[in-house]
Amino acid sequence: MSPWILPILILLPLLGAALVVLSHAARARSIAFGITLGAAAMGVGALASFDWSQAGAFQGEVGVPWVPALGLSLSLGVDSIALLLVALTLLLGPICVAASATAITERVKTYYAWLLVLQAAMTGVFCARDLALFYVFFEFTLIPMYVLISLYGSTNRKRAATKFFLYTFTGSIIALAGLLYVVWVNASAPYGSGEWTFDIATLQATSVQMSAQQQGWVMLAMLLGFAVKVPLFPVHTWLPLAHTEAPTAGSVILAGVLLKLGTYGIYRFVLGLTPEGVMEHAHALAVLSIIGIVYAGLICWVQRDVKKLVAYSSVSHLGFCVLGMLALNSVGVAGSVMYMINHGLSTGALFLLIGMIYERYHTRDMEELGGLARKMPVWSTFMVFFAMASVGLPGLNGFVSEVMCLIGAFQDNTVAQEPFVGATPGRLGPWYAAVAGTGMIVAAMYLLYMLGKVVWGQLREPADHHPHPRLPTDLNAREIAILSPIALLCLAIGLFPAPMLRAIEQPVNDTVQWVWKHAPSAAQYAERDMQRASTSIARGEGDR
């Protein structure tokens, strides 16, 4: 993989943003579309040139000293997981531009410029191999998003934007403190390298040597940043508001990529820097994610605002994602990584669909609007399809990740022994999977409730409805072209997940092994649980 690709992927949208600002407003959209399409094409090139046999190694690496005194450097590089997330970002780029064609008619230059900046920042987050650089990109995503929500959102946009900004900013400041602590430990403590550096690999080697207590605190700090972003219960309340008020493209990016910054952060830094901490606290965090799954799912069920319903469903879905990660075994973590991609696709598509309806009816209230199947058959078909992807129907993408997260969570850390031929250690256990699994039922409840209202039933339209001047009753070719690639991907991932699983297998295995290797207590947990298992076998025999 050429070292030029990643810097270009970040710089190209920035360049595009500059072009948009300098050009005429009428051409802003075409420029933005061309740039994002070009970036997507480059993304395909990156996928093609990536050496998948070395999927766990960071490729396309570049490093330019930045502030040498502090050890900062502009270093980029991706493993297969980061690359897939970059690919997701690049895919959603042109889609978001295309989806804004008729929705954004004022201040278009500002809009597309910030959209492009946002894409650059998001790409940067996944590519960064320097902690400081990561953090800069991570924080920088806030500003474009803030602008997009506060200028182009609906009625309550100011409040939503401010809340989004302050909430996530506060979280990430604390995360910064945690990250800086690791840097400081590395620079000063006996087991560190003794010099200031923000290189993630170096910091990992140091961080794992911290005591369990230290790791716990660092993890807590990092989690406050990442969990807000995910969002994990109970720090999720910014999300329904922001999602609901954001313009369609904003919601798509928010659900598709921005939330994944949180889970990616957990994957990269919480598992990477504080294995002992996560091993120790996995249960508590898993409980939080399970609460999120069920709690947010039930809240979805009583929404009237269809966009809010989908927004809350993100909280519920991302709970599965975090749960899989906390299983700390390959199946769970791989499922979690797949979840990041799949949720981006299916929930992104749901927001697009809702946006298309909102453009035509200017309402998201399911009491005013419904029964669109007869009037908009194409839209309805897509809606049912993506709702099913979201509900986790096997054969579509959502199932792949959901079932793997649950299977991962199901495994407790009983160590392989006869007759437990299949046992693979994990940090959680059957009960976690069982309770989280009720989320599958709840998901069916709220998504079918939504379909029942919006798609099926008698046609309901707002009283003052008149047709959109520029849009046909049902979807036009542009809108179908936006949705089709996502639908095809959902189907492809659902039916042929193995190539993707093979692609992420190596880094996932490395991470899982890293965690178990560097959590000294892991052996103790395993031993304790093995004793428990053998006593239960003995008890089983004793019964007779």
Binding site: T237, V384, V400, M404, V421, T424, M440, W456
Partner: protein, 752 residues
């Protein structure tokens, strides 16, 4: 006297042979042709010229027909030779993740097919009936030619694809794909008439109820993976084999509790999909779907998926002490409960729906009574006669503008053009009622006999309940027949007059056309012929028995000849004793009663002191005929067609009306389905709904409120320290200096 040993035990031991061979690659076409049909129906929906024709129907019929022919070829391929073969056909790698080289350190599920005789048995009637019913639907759905027609046949084909994945999948996860896939198609088809609020609600209910079951299935799959490290049948069954051996040796202590828990979870899925207690309530509501859908999905195929699941994983169920007794009792109680409801309903389609639930109960009971053969046989016969019963109801509904109330229809058989419907209905009813020598009689009988043969927790009582239920079944079946199909001619149109003809108030019933009639005729013949399969391969309990015995669903048998005992963990004491002593017993005489037969006495229960196998034919005939006579007396018309004991002269009234007050509230309760729906609503749905609203409030007020409060803290704090913002310059300077000093101190301390 049935011979339990011989072929059974041979097959059981030959099932342990190593990895199955590769099968013919074309077998996967059986699965993918329906998918192709679905895609082509989608194309029809897009192309306007194709949308306006019946093309989707013909595409579906043709491709499903090819699928059926291929299944027949596959049957010949698999059943050629002494024993049925098991072959694998792999299409592609579906899931693959490995994290080590040791066994169990990978998560694999292929998109491949595991084909043994059980698979073929199921696929034969799935593809065969699907083809026929698609043909029927081509006429039945003809009012909807257009987008709806495309949608119908696309979902129909997708259903067959999903069902094929469910049945043919070579691992539990692919079974799960089919499992949820049929659920989706069921959802789409129940809600086909989406303008009706009832249809939408019924579709939603079906999907969610099924999801509850699916969770159990999913957890069962996870537990399987956790324990065995694989979910591929070809690897899984050899791993289960040692437990089966332990069971045969009577050494049940060898079987870990984890393994015993797997079937407890799997069965939850089976209860959901096959509409058993407590998850049965969705099936009657599923009748909102077009009738061909009810016939195929909600009577013949999808709802038997639960039976298939248990049959497929029968070794796992057998080694669990609790699983099969629970299955048996759930089946028994479901059979009774839904039969009582069916007796009090007026909507003939709903009566058929409840009877499906009830018959599924028999199948589950059969599995629990250790006769997977009986269960599979009942699935097989039921598929034909219940499909034909539904299609007859559909023909009536189609002809009389949606009329299904048995009080508003009478003497349909005698109307012009309705002869075939009437005869097909009669054959179906006789089968369902278990009239002697019909297919339904033989299959039901096999289950009933085993209830008394197999000693299990309360199995004799369960047997009596099922016998009584058989009588009730005969009653409610012929209640429909006597009311609707014979007697004075009378017909009121249903409420679909407008939808059909455009110009309202002008109702003329139209008799079914060639498609409906020919399908009904074929099904009627098939349901008669299904009885014949009982006499092929008699020593293996019929052709279906042979198919079952060549598969993983075979009963596990210990001992030989008269001493043969069907082994299961819940009777491990017997099995253990038998395994030790069985060989030494003297062979008992052919005509010896169980009590005299020594060794067999522990194996065989009795029916009022007689051998159940010998007398059950007569006993169940007695109950069946009693039911029919009761129906004839209460609902039959005057004369020959009321068996000379009926007296009904009008459509709406019968002798049964006089009984209603006498039975008091019972009738009302049964008519209201024992208020189970209301109970669920009160106990589960409403509380959950309230809870959700509470959560929503908590989220908005408490959690978000706290956040907002914290957000305001800085400004509150700002207000309280406002005096410090005095605007006096030296104040700021002091502040800055002290801040800097603090920072320096901090850095110095930290870098110390």
């Amino acid at each position: 006297m049935h011979n339990l040993a011989g072929p059974l035990s041979q097959v059981a031991s030959s099932a342990d042979v190593g990895v199955p061979a590769q099968g013919p690659a074309w077998a996967s076409l059986i699965v993918f042709l329906p998918l192709l049909a679905c895609a082509l129906c989608g194309v029809c929906a897009i192309v306007p010229a194709m949308r306006r024709t019946k093309l989707p129907a013909w595409i579906t019929v043709a491709l499903l027909g090819v699928s059926f022919v291929l299944t027949v070829l596959l049957y010949q391929d698999v059943s050629a030779g002494e024993h049925a073969k098991t072959v694998l056909v792999t299409s592609w790698e579906w899931f693959h993740l490995s994290w080590g080289d040791a066994p169990g350190q990978q998560f694999v599920a292929s998109f491949g097919f595991y084909i043994d005789s059980l698979t073929v048995l199921w696929m034969l009637f799935v593809t065969g009936l699907a083809t026929l019913i698609a043909l029927y639907a081509s006429e039945y759905m003809s009012h909807d030619v257009g987008l709806g027609y495309c949608r119908f046949f696309a979902a129909f084909s997708l259903f067959v694809f999903s069902m094929a994945c469910l049945v043919m999948g070579d691992n539990l996860l692919l079974l799960y794909l089919g499992w949820e896939g049929v659920g989706l198609c069921s959802y789409l088809l129940i809600g086909y008439f989406y303008n009706e609020a009832g249809a939408v609600a019924a579709a939603k209910k079906a999907f969610i109820m099924n999801r509850i079951g699916d969770l159990g299935l999913a957890l069962g799959i996870m537990l399987t993976f956790w324990h065995f490290g694989t979910i591929q049948y070809a690897e899984l069954f050899p791993l289960v084999a040692p437990y089966v051996e332990a069971l045969k040796a009577g050494d049940i202590g060898q079987i870990p509790l984890v393994v015993q828990a797997i079937p407890l979870l799997l069965m939850v899925g089976a209860f959901g999909k096959s509409a058993q207690l407590p998850l049965y309530v969705w099936l009657p509501d599923a009748m909102w779907g077009p009738t061909p859908v009810s016939a195929l999905i909600h009577a013949a195929t999808m709802v038997t998926a639960g039976v298939y699941l248990i049959a497929r994983t029968y070794p796992l169920f057998a080694v669990s002490e609790l699983a099969l007794p629970i299955v048996a009792w759930v089946g028994t109680l479901t059979a009774l409960l839904s039969a009582t409801i069916a007796m009090a309903q007026f909507d003939i389609k709903r009566i058929m729906a409840y009877s499906t639930v009830s018959q599924l109960g028999y199948m589950f009971a059969g599995l629990g009574f250790l006769t997977s053969t009986g269960a599979a046989f009942h699935v097989f016969t039921h598929a034909f006669f219940k499909a034909s019963l539904f299609l007859c109801c559909g023909a009536v509904m189609h002809g009389f503008a949606g009329q299904l109330d048995l009080r508003r229809l009478s003497g349909v058989s005698f109307m012009k053009g309705w002869g075939i419907v009437g005869i097909a209905m009669l054959i179906g009813c006789l089968n369902l009622a278990g009239f002697p020598l019909t297919a339904g009689f033989f299959s039901k009988d096999m289950i009933l006999a085993e209830a008394f043969v197999t000693p299990g927790p309360g199995y004799a009582l369960a047997g009596w309940i099922l016998l009584v239920t058989a009588g009730l079944t005969a009653y409610y079946t012929f209640r429909v027949f006597f009311r609707v199909f014979v007697g004075p001619q009378h017909a009121e149109p249903g409420d679909e007059v407008h939808a059909h003809d455009g110009h309202d108030a002008h109702f003329h019933p139209h008799a079914p056309g060639w498609a409906i009639n020919s399908v009904l005729a074929i099904l009627a013949v098939a349901s008669i012929l299904a009885a014949g399969t009982y006499f092929i391969e008699k020593e293996q309990h019929g052709w279906v028995g042979k198919m079952v015995h060549g598969s993983t669903a075979a009963e596990i048998v210990v001992g030989e000849g008269e001493h043969a005992v069907r082994a299961a963990a819940f009777r491990h004491d017997l099995v253990g004793e038998h395994a030790i002593h069985g060989e030494s017993h003297e062979p008992a005489g052919d005509h010896a009663t169980p009590e005299e037969a020594g060794g067999s006495s522990i194996a065989h229960g009795s029916f009022l002191g007689m051998d159940p196998h010998a007398v059950m034919y007569y006993v169940s005939s007695l109950f069946g005929i009693a039911g029919i006579l009761t129906a004839a007396y209460l609902h039959g018309p005057r004369g020959l067609f009321g068996l000379f004991i009926g007296s009904r002269t009008e459509a709406a009234t019968s002798r049964a009306d006089a009984l209603v007050p006498a039975l008091g509230p019972l009738v009302q309760w049964a008519r209201h389905k024992w208020y189970v729906d209301e109970l669920y609503d009160f106990l589960i749905v409403k509380p959950l709904w309230v809870l959700s609203h509470i959560f929503h409030l908590i989220d908005q007020l408490l959690i978000d409120g706290l956040v907002d409060l914290m957000g305001r803290l800085p400004s509150i704090g700002g207000r309280s320290i406002r005096p410090s913002q005095s605007g006096v310059l030296h104040g700021y300077a002091v502040g800055m200096a002290s801040g800097l000093a603090f920072l320096l101190l901090l850095v110095w301390l930290l870098t110390l």
